[in-house]
């Protein structure tokens, strides 16, 4: 046993020594090429019906269309679920023979519809459920008629047989009548009212049944429920109502604009009220303003602001329905629109007020809505994409956390970032990269001794566009790489100008549809591998 122990100790010690002798990892440097970015930016992806178009000369034209608000009156015109209760009995004790009609009741019921006076509606959906309670010891036959509700011109009628019941336990009969796609005249029995349901119920004893006696305590009850009603069309008076609101939006990209000037040419902004409700209206743009991040507010100034304009009713009907259009056109001659746009902040606010029937019921209750009826306010920004940039500065900050890659950064011996650009925009760009720590302090800055030149300074490419090509190299030594371990944000800043090649001064330039900027970023990295 002693010898065995010695052997185990010797081999154990050798095994340990042969493995534990590897105190350090094996390591070596290798050089890697890693393409980081390969992309080409143009405005082609923005060409559509509501953003940018290309004119016949091959230059971009801004056709920006954005909706400010939309009002759907259909959501306002609704008939709530309604139950009508009726009870019928004979005034004296009588013997009721088979086939005797003991109820013949024609009635109208007025719906409670706030601020609406409807005389005609088309139901897209809905049903009438009739519950009849029979206390007699014979079958009764119930006929339901909606004399002023028609589908395809035919009055809606229906009937049901309710089995014999007792005074203590009347038999219940139920009939559900579909009124979808039906049109209802809501003027009542006298044709001079509104919001009224007209119906008729008759009840007979079974002609093949037995005679029963009836006293005043024999009560036949009828519950009529209108439910799940949906309206496609309504005519009447929709009331005098005001929709006041504020449309606010924030354009994130504008938050990156931190300095410099923007010069626009021939800006034309059309704010259009489109009304496809057949009712008079009135629209007022109370305020249109933008706010920059520094709190600077720029308001649109015009004699059209805070002044109401009448909105005509739509014309036509159903498939021929055509909205009325009411324009607020802002241009350089009637407003400060160019100044307003050139100083646009990211936060945009439009305060508006829209009235329906501002003069009351002056059209004889002839307001109409159709399924597609809405009132909406749209902004159309129309101008040639001609811009002048004077040290126009965009800055974007990207959150990151280099501390998660501390080990990798420690093993990066050196790095070289090569940026190749090819630019055919008539815009120059001087860009820089800054890495910030968690306190916002700068820990690394990479600037260039030159800029991406405007394409106008370059030479023609194979498509005939003037392009300028530049190469930028950022060397990062191990000390700079080490600083990155504390990096929490990357800030990229570009200063843009539109220089005139002949003068060097910033001028307004048209943007060609062939304009692009292509960028390739390649990382040369010397990295220490370890195993």
């Amino acid at each position: 046993m002693k010898h065995t122990l010695i052997l185990f100790l010797v081999f154990g010690a050798l095994s340990l020594s042969s493995t534990s002798c590897r105190k350090n990892k094996a390591s070596w440097d290798a050089d890697y090429l890693v393409p980081l970015v390969d992309d080409s930016l143009s405005l082609k992806n923005w060409v559509n019906d509501s953003t940018i178009s290309v004119n016949s000369a091959g230059y971009y034209h801004l056709n920006l269309k954005r909706e400010v608000f939309k009002f759907d009156l259909n959501s306002e015109i609704q008939i709530p679920d309604t139950t009508i209760h009726s009870a019928f009995s004979t005034p004296v004790s009588i013997n009721v023979p088979p086939g005797f009609q003991f109820v013949n009741d024609a009635q109208e019921k007025k719906f409670s519809l706030s601020n609406l006076e409807l005389n005609t509606v088309y139901f897209s959906k809905g049903e009438i459920e009739v519950d009849v309670y029979n206390p007699y010891g014979t079958n009764i036959i119930c006929h339901i008629s909606l004399p002023k509700t028609k589908r395809n011109g035919i009055v809606i009628v229906d009937s049901m047989v309710v089995g014999p019941g007792t005074l203590a336990n009347p038999t219940k009969g139920t009939k559900t009548i579909d009124i979808s796609q039906a049109v209802m005249d809501m003027t009542g029995l006298a044709n001079n009212s509104f919001n009224k349901l007209t119906y008729q119920i008759t009840i007979n004893t079974d002609p093949n049944g037995v005679s029963v006696s009836s006293t005043p305590i024999y009560v036949t009850e009828v519950d009529t429920k209108l439910q799940n009603l949906g309206i496609d069309y309504a005519k009447g008076y929709f009331g005098q109502r005001t929709i006041a609101g504020t449309a606010e939006t924030s354009i994130e990209d504008l938050k990156k604009w931190v300095g410099g000037t923007l010069d626009l040419q021939n800006a034309n902004v059309d704010i259009v009220m489109s009304n496809s409700i057949k009712a008079m209206g009135r629209i007022k743009i109370i305020e249109f303003k933008t706010t920059k991040q520094d709190g600077t507010v720029t308001s649109l100034i015009s004699n059209q602001i805070n002044v109401p304009q009448n909105v005509n009713p739509a014309t036509g009907s159903w498939s021929t329905l055509s909205p009325s259009l009411t324009h607020f056109i802002f241009n350089n001659s009637n407003s400060n629109i160019e100044t307003f746009l050139e100083n646009a902040g990211p936060d945009i606010k439009v305060v508006y007020e829209f009235e329906i029937n501002p003069l009351g019921n002056i059209t004889g209750a002839s307001n109409e809505i159709f399924p597609q009826s809405i009132a909406k306010l749209d902004v159309f920004w129309d101008m040639p994409l001609s811009i002048g940039l004077g040290d126009f500065t965009l800055r974007d900050t990207i959150e990151t956390d280099f501390s998660k890659n501390t080990d990798q950064l420690s093993r990066a011996k050196s790095a070289k970032i090569t940026i190749d650009t090819e630019n055919s925009f008539p815009i120059s760009c001087d860009f820089m990269l800054v890495v910030l720590d968690e306190n916002g302090s700068v820990i690394l800055t990479k600037v260039n001794d030159k800029e991406i030149q405007s394409g106008l300074y370059g030479s023609p490419n194979s498509f005939g566009s003037l392009t300028s090509k530049e190469k930028f190299i950022w060397d990062l030594n191990s000390s700079e790489i080490d600083k990155l371990k504390n990096g929490k944000k990357i800030m990229i800043q570009g200063v843009f100008n539109t220089p005139d090649p002949s003068t060097g001064l910033s001028t307004s330039v048209l943007i060609s549809e062939k304009s692009f900027v292509a960028t390739k970023v390649l990382l040369h990295l010397t990295y220490e591998n370890k195993i």
Partner: protein
């Protein structure tokens, strides 16, 4: 440190040598029992020099000279392999009632790590120089293979008392497993480095997790010895030996398979940040987007087996010089059949010295050497199958074989 190990081992050990490494001796002495232990640390290749592989094994920085020297030695296809084995046997020959008294028994415990790879020069270049070396060129690494198995075993077997032939069965705990191949692989780059194309058709699988038991196996060890007529009327002893011939079942193997070609020239701006940003945290989505199929499964495959057939030396021979030779192979595709031949010189009764030449395996020709000491009940041995490797950074591997035995 490696030199220190070498000296310490030389000082403490010698013997009739490791069980399956050269030379194996035939001792027909009638003994009651013995305890033997042996250890092998052997790594070698066709192309990688010790100035580089030594750093891989023992740690340290691999400088440009070491890389360049090995790079220049590489051919289109290259091999590299490693074995690290410890085993200890308890043998009892004194049992009299086991199978008519002709057999003894042994109990064996051990641990091994085997790793081997077959690879291209370009793969070596990519790993040690990076892809910048192949700017405007193509690095081809088709035909790459790799496997690595680590296990511990516990076995029991019978030994004939007369010839010391044995046959036993082992249970294996699989603690490490990985293998892979690249059937078709290349990385191309244009002259600027901005556009790169990777072609990859291959598989990599490994046993996942930190736990010690990643699988199990059953295998056999056999050692059959026989004598045959030799020159000048003498007889010689021969041995046919196999070890770890069997199967293993490895649990929770994660397999990655891919057969795709990727063109990459960089990210788009909208992929750098924001909603469309590349998210490497979601590994599953990243694999899907690259067309890499990942699955977990249990696999059953062969243990890293070993076979050796050859003439062995006779402990009781009256000859001062004896020859030994044979052939050896491992059941891994990267291992070429190895042939060896050498002779043993009996300097004293208590000291023998052997020298042999070896060709094949994971490397090319190399010289082996051993010393063997006997002192009373003890036998001690040390040797190397790569003398140049032990002495020079120009060598292509290192080899250290140890044995200690106690007989009674």
């Amino acid at each position: 440190m490696k030199f220190l190990i070498f000296i310490v081992t030389l000082f403490f050990l010698s013997g009739s040598f490791a069980q399956h490494t050269l030379p194996v001796s035939m001792d027909t002495s009638q003994i009651n029992g013995e305890i033997t232990g042996f250890g092998v640390l052997d790594y070698c290749g066709t192309s990688i020099q010790n100035s580089l592989s030594g750093k891989l094994v023992y740690g340290g920085f691999i400088d440009a000279d070491a890389k360049e020297e090995s790079m220049n030695k590489h051919r289109t296809h290259n091999k590299y392999g490693l074995e690290f084995t410890n085993e200890i046997d308890y043998r009892n020959y004194s049992v009299s009632n086991l199978l008519n008294g002709k057999y003894g028994y042994y109990i064996r415990g051990g641990a091994s790590v085997f790793a081997s790879t077959s690879y291209s020069q370009d793969l070596f270049g990519l790993i040690f120089y990076g892809n910048q070396r192949y700017k405007g060129d193509t690095a081809n690494f088709s035909g790459t293979e790799f496997n690595m198995v680590g296990f511990q075993k516990l076995g029991f077997g019978l030994i004939t008392k007369s010839m010391k032939s044995s046959l036993g069965i082992n249970y294996y705990n699989i603690s490490q497993f990985a293998d892979g191949f690249i059937r078709d692989g290349s990385l191309s780059s244009d002259s600027t480095g901005n556009n790169q194309e990777l072609t990859l058709d291959g598989r990599f699988q490994y046993a996942e997790g930190a736990k010690f038991n990643k699988g199990w196996g059953v295998g056999f060890d056999g050692d059959f010895r026989f004598q045959a007529a030799w020159t000048k009327g003498r007889v010689a002893f021969f041995q046919a030996q196999f070890k770890n011939i069997g199967l293993m079942n490895v649990n929770s193997v994660t397999e990655y398979k891919v057969d795709s070609t990727y063109q990459y020239s960089g990210l788009k701006f909208n992929q750098l940040a924001g909603d469309n940003g590349v998210n490497l945290d979601n590994q599953e989505a990243a694999l899907d987007s690259l067309g890499i199929n990942k699955q977990n499964r249990n696999i059953t495959t062969f243990l890293p087996g070993f076979v050796q057939i050859g003439k062995i030396v006779d402990e009781h021979s009256t000859q001062n010089i004896q020859s030994y030779f044979g052939v050896r192979l491992y059941t891994t595709l990267a291992y070429n059949p190895l042939v060896y031949a050498g002779f043993q010189l009996k300097a004293y009764d208590w000291m023998k010295i052997g020298i042999h030449g070896i060709y094949g395996g994971f490397s090319q020709f190399r010289l082996g050497f051993y010393t063997h000491y006997s002192y009373k009940k003890w036998q001690l041995g040390i040797g190397s199958e790569n003398i140049i490797g032990a002495l020079s950074n120009k060598g292509k591997g290192e080899s250290l074989h140890l044995r200690i035995a106690l007989q009674w």
